[in-house]
């Protein structure tokens, strides 16, 4: 790997890993490259927060300009409302844990529809060329898109706030347990959306992205049960650890454990990292 020659500033080979614009998952550091230039200075700044804001504004605009977003939201609220009512009628308990379990399954079906468009559509309509030739890092683009899908989900989640409010009015539910459940729901969906985003980046067909992410989510969710088939000597616990549902169950029963938070956080980081790499790879093909 040759370093840039200071006299010419030219490189003969380009070490990818030491480039100043190398995307980082945290993308918090603004790298300033000093270079001699007789040209005018660039017209503006390109802070990471600003870039994230630009991407999020654009994505939220697209969400609410599309009928799919409203369909997803309506489906989510109708199904959850019905299940909340059905569970409450049969159990007669002021408890949301079963509702959360159902909500996770519903989200597994619906969140691929939230993320399918994010990169696939940019690739199909060629706008990815605009994004990748703009002064914004791939990591900022990826994280911005993920955050916008998460914000969209938060709107749906806040609307389910009627369930705990209803329970509080007519019963005495455990507020701590409900809040832990909401946190768990949020973490699970954050992973779902990161995985969906990755799947959207590998194709330019939204339907393919939808099918891929649903497939992956289903497999990851079912790992819990599959673990039992791997015998008692370690294999089963590894597979079960990888499964997403086990980590979720402790949240709904009111336990916020560091190991579960770490599990979801690493899932998010891994999926977003893969997405950045996948978007970057457009440059190499």
């Amino acid at each position: 790997m040759s370093e840039p020659n200071p006299s010419t500033g030219r490189r003969t080979s380009r070490p990818r890993s030491t480039r100043p614009e190398e995307p980082r998952m945290t993308a918090a550091v603004e790298t300033v490259v000093a270079a001699p230039s007789a040209a005018r200075p660039p017209v503006g700044s390109s802070g990471t927060l600003r870039n994230l804001g630009t991407v999020i504004t654009k994505e939220l605009h697209s969400y609410f300009a599309s009928p799919i977003a409203y369909l997803v939201m309506a489906a989510f609220l109708v199904m959850n409302g019905y299940l909340f009512w059905a569970i409450l009628i049969s159990s007669k308990q002021a408890d949301l844990s079963s509702t959360f379990a159902d909500m996770a399954i519903i989200l597994m079906l619906l969140s691929p529809a939230i993320t399918m468009r994010l990169f696939a559509e940019e690739q199909r309509q060629g706008t990815i060329e605009l994004l990748l030739t703009s002064p914004i890092r791939e990591a900022e683009l990826v994280v911005g898109k993920w955050l916008s899908s998460l914000l969209f989900f938060l709107v749906m989640l806040v609307l389910t706030g009627t369930f705990p409010l209803f329970l509080l009015k007519f019963g005495t539910p455990d507020v701590g347990t409900m809040l832990a459940g909401y946190l768990g729901m949020f973490m699970v969906e954050a992973v779902f959306l990161a995985i969906g985003l990755f799947m959207s980046s590998v194709t330019q067909n939204q339907i393919v992205a939808l099918a891929l992410s649903f497939g992956v989510l289903l497999v990851l969710w079912l790992f819990q049960g599959a673990g039992q088939n791997f015998g008692q000597n370690g294999g089963s616990s590894v597979v079960a650890y990888l499964g997403m549902s086990g980590h979720f169950d402790s949240f709904t029963s009111g336990a916020i454990q560091v190991k579960d938070l770490v599990y979801y956080a690493s899932g998010i980081v891994l999926a977003l990292f893969l997405t950045v790499r996948s978007v970057e790879s457009r440059r190499w093909r």
Binding site: P20, A35, V43
Partner: protein, 320 residues
Amino acid sequence: MASRRKFSMIDVQHLNKSYADKVAVKDVTFSVNPGEILGFLGPNGAGKTTTMRILTGYMPATSGSAKVAGFDVFGQSLDVRKRIGYLPENVPLYPDMSVQFYLSFVARLKGLPGPKLKERLEYALKVCRIDDVRTRLIGKLSKGYRQRVGLAQAIIHDPDVLILDEPTVGLDPKQINETRELIRGLGGKHTIILSTHILPEVSMTCGRVVIINEGQVVAEDSPENLTHRLQGQDRVHVEARAPRPALLETLRALPGVTHVTTREVDGRVHAEIEAASQRDVRADVAAAVVGQGWSLLELRAATMSLEDIFLKLTTREEAA
């Protein structure tokens, strides 16, 4: 290159790009001075788009170097991207956005600060004549409007360098003229590279032309010089009512004439004469034809157009 002494806004040296199965760009070297409009001319698939994509940082080169405004497009990609306005061949538009929203989004994406945004937005809307559709959804616009929105997107952040990939493709003749005028007006303020396979476009808008074929630069000069340099000979077109063999013989006998071809259509003979360009053979041709008692129906100089030169240059390899 004569421009070496000065600072080049774009400096491309020995650029190569190969894909898995083919070489797209081979040892391309050229530079562009500040404020200049460079025409990038070549048949489809010649490597124009690939070169432009390398300059904009969309894809890396296999080897060689490229600098924009003094920044290396590989090592200092973000600095380069801040200074480039790029109109790709497929105009990158979001059909669900209004023109206004789209342009503000692009401006923020390019790092244009808030206070300047409004001013630049108005400027781009005005210059590209899309002010009247600013609140319309892009998806509902005609092709001509979309192309102009694409151009507005490229200039909104007042970049040093404009890279326009086939900016007039798909427009009607009136819009093509307007767009060319617009681009000509942008020269001076911006350094522009414009790719096209339409030749009049180059002679109308560009100060200099780089002709590229099969990934290689085959010629580089001003449109006038190119035409002049490659015009070793003149062509004259003659239409006369005359017996074909006799006409052929008479024309061949004229001084300076190197080659004559004839064909007969409805009793009239069309002849294409090639002659050394030192002398105008038209007077001789007219005198000879009339002198034989034939009726001369048409006589005109068919100078070699840029089109012919282009074809000559880009088909050289097969001919050799």
